[in-house]
Amino acid sequence: MLIIVLIGFLLLAGAAILIIYRTRGGMGVAWLVAVVSAFLVWVAVLVLRWQSGVSLNLQDWRPGGEEFSTLIFQFDSISWPYAFALVSLLLGVLLTASTRIQQLPNPWAWTGSMGVTAAGIATVLAATPMAVILSWTLVDLIELGVLLGSRVQRLLTQRVVLSFSARLAGTLAVVGAVLYSDYLGKPMTLSKFDERAGIFLLLAAGLRLGVLPLHLPFVEEPPMRRGLGTVLRLVVPASGLVILGRLPPAVVSPQLAPYFLMFSSLAALYGAVMWLTAKDELAGRPYWLISLAGIAVACAVRGRPTAAPIWGIATILAGGVLFLYSVRQARLFLIPAMALLGLSGLPFTPLASGLKGLVVLPFNALDVVLIVAFSLLLTGFTRHAISEGASVEGLDRWVQVVYPLGLFWLALSFWLIGLFGWQGSLTIGNWWVSLICITLTVGLVFLMRYGKLVSADQERAEWLFLLFKPVGRVLAAVFRLDWLYVLIAFVFRLVQGVVRFLTVLLEGEGGVLWALLILTLLISIFYSGSLP
């Protein structure tokens, strides 16, 4: 019941914002209502960390009477950090919206953010396959609606449809997992399922995150930019990332594991390179997502699914800090620095537990790839955090207070999750791995600063782009999978030709005779006993 109240409250508050804005014309009041509502939900979710057994059970949701027919949404050690991260992101977005009010007053975006977050919370709390299937679809449909409804987005229509298709394929992979479990005679729940069915869930998460197979429908970031754009871009992957934490340790057979690991590591490395060289943090956002998702998937493949959730949390919260960091000032750098420290993986920092999955002994070449990828991510984070942005000058005084508060809230939430997100979240981690990564990062940053590769002065950093542009173009061409789409279209047209020929045959003048011939053939096959 409490879960319905939380989600319903967010949705009602979203509606209230619009009503207030329309009826009283008060942008300020509408914003205040949004912030207060989000804050209340944030406090409620925080308190739920210490409440056990908060769940919503909808039994006999459909005929069948089996476990699969039940919809369960619950707070547990995996879902709580994600729910908390999503609410924190919403609060951060609304607080930092104060800097965007003057440019783009848009209560619709706040309502949209609240709606998307509510759906996102439902998704991360889903504890049965059916709940996962329904909530994934809900989030996907919302995203589809928002993207297709966005004006500038129309140029990217095909990309939007491709992205939706990949996610739908992910959802169908969960359906596949359910069916496979039924075949094995072990009806599936997310807390208990046959390991052989786990590969379907891994594939589902991979497809959803764009990691397995690696695909980037949105290389050109949709132009919603900050605010709703950030919420949308981060909530959808969260719905896929959360399921990684629920996978069994031996999710992939040893024969297949190297291939899965290779794909995910490649995604992580490619994303990290592109993130580092992206023009700014918003342009690099798709790469940030794919790189961290790649690492999270790699954790699950290597038998460390418990390490996967924190990578997802980092994606949302550390990423959120940077993506909302539009107005910049030297003293404000402390906040992204706080997020960066949390992201470092040093002992007792939030990501420390995640590094247990980054490198798993015995050491091999893919460990090196992942270490390099992570170091590049940290370097990119630093680079984007110290680059220039809009100035605080000219902003109202209250904005100058509220905006940093929003950023700080996100960084604080990241640390709170690291401190007590789940049992064992505060850990020393793989301290030596973090040391290697930090050393690499510091070295890279130093090298770039020294070589003026990274600079507050955008023009001086230009040659970095010139250097990486051709490489990036080739990589982008490969990983955007345009070549694959062309190939698929070719095969599609080929088969379409065959189907059309058969259609003409069956629907033509001799169609009835053909039908009788096929019937005779079928009967002969039937009687020969060669049926499956």
Binding site: L148, L172, W514
Partner: protein, 462 residues
Amino acid sequence: MSAALLWIGIPLVAAVVFWFLRNQKLLCILAIGALNLLLALLAWKLPIGGVINFLGLSIELKETWIILGRSFVFEAGDRSFLMLIFVMGAFWYIGAVVVKVGRTFAPLGLAVIAFLVAALSVQPFLYAALFIEAAVLFSIPMLIPPGQVPGKGILRYVIFQTLAMPFIMFAGWVATIVEANPTDQRLLLQAVLFMALGFAFWLAIFPFYSWVPLLTSEVNPYVAGFVLNFFPTIVFLLSLDFLNTFAWLRDFSLLYVALRLIGAIMVIIGGIWVAFERELARMYGYAVLMENGFSLLALSLHSRVGLEIFTTLFVGRLLSLAVWGLALANLSGQERVTLEDVEGLLHSKPVTAGVILASCLSVAGLPLLAVFPMRLFLLEQLVKVAPVTAFWVFIGGGGLFVAGLRLLNSMARSEQDYQFAEKVIPVVFMVLGTLAIIIVGIFPGWLTRNLVGLLDAFERLQ
């Protein structure tokens, strides 16, 4: 008064009366829609075989009506399917208010419904074939507007439906002999073969399906939807009746293997064909074929659960196909519309486009929409008894997803701004229909559980 008079006689008489009033199209549609609702209500409330007290009069609602030596029998257990049929009728007539259907649609449609109900209740059952044939013949003027030359689809529809009649009558004749000689395997096989061929023609089972996409592309999609929903529903109910009546048919083990094979072929063939189809109305036709395939698969489970799935599949199917037909008819009338023609439709007619997409994806089995819950339940059961078939059916079913995504890609492709220049009343109808699809998809339990009552009419299948 006999029940048959109420649910067959009154609709037939009303059809004749409204035939003379057919020029008042809206009045006819509304009145017949209301009559359907009333008949559904009566099926729900009246005790068949009991006594009704009405205005101080005691009227006995007799179960049997004998005419010319044939009897029309309705029992208490038949009330559920009577409700289903007349609710379907009301649903279709309400939608017809906003669609450009011909003047003959309303009265002839009612006559078709009456004949189909007669087919379900007539004893001996072999006369069902005659009533279905009558329904087919009455449906033709409904499908072709006066003065229009019938296309290949309509001709083939008549040919195949008519071919079914002799096979079913032969099957009925042989069946009576089998009853007397149950050990004669040759006779039994003949009876099954005749029956299978008859049903294959009726249900457009592979390879006799080619008339379905042809028909949907030639006539008003809404009227085609009426025919393609009513006939299979009645024929499927009739097939349950046959299974209920003949123990030798129920116990014929090969029957279920054949049903599974044919069902899977229909889903797979329909899935492949629909994925490559460019014409929207033909996509609709293939979707109907796939739905028929899924119903056959449910029957092939040969269990109580299978029968429950079979009956509950009707809800999602009816809603989704009716709304899809409504949106298609609203979009195109009788013109052929291809994927190229609907480019940017999401921007120019967002509601119509959205409704077409939602209903198409609902039939495909998209979660949150009407068909998904029971489709998944069917696959869950199928995978336990025939995993290979279930796998191919799952893959084949994906064809409709491909079609839906192609539609989405085409409809969304536009540089124009969004417009809302659609007529309000059709939009209201379409939105209400889509809401119904979503509500059934989100809360499938309560509605589907009530439909299981359909099985009360077939007590030997419990």
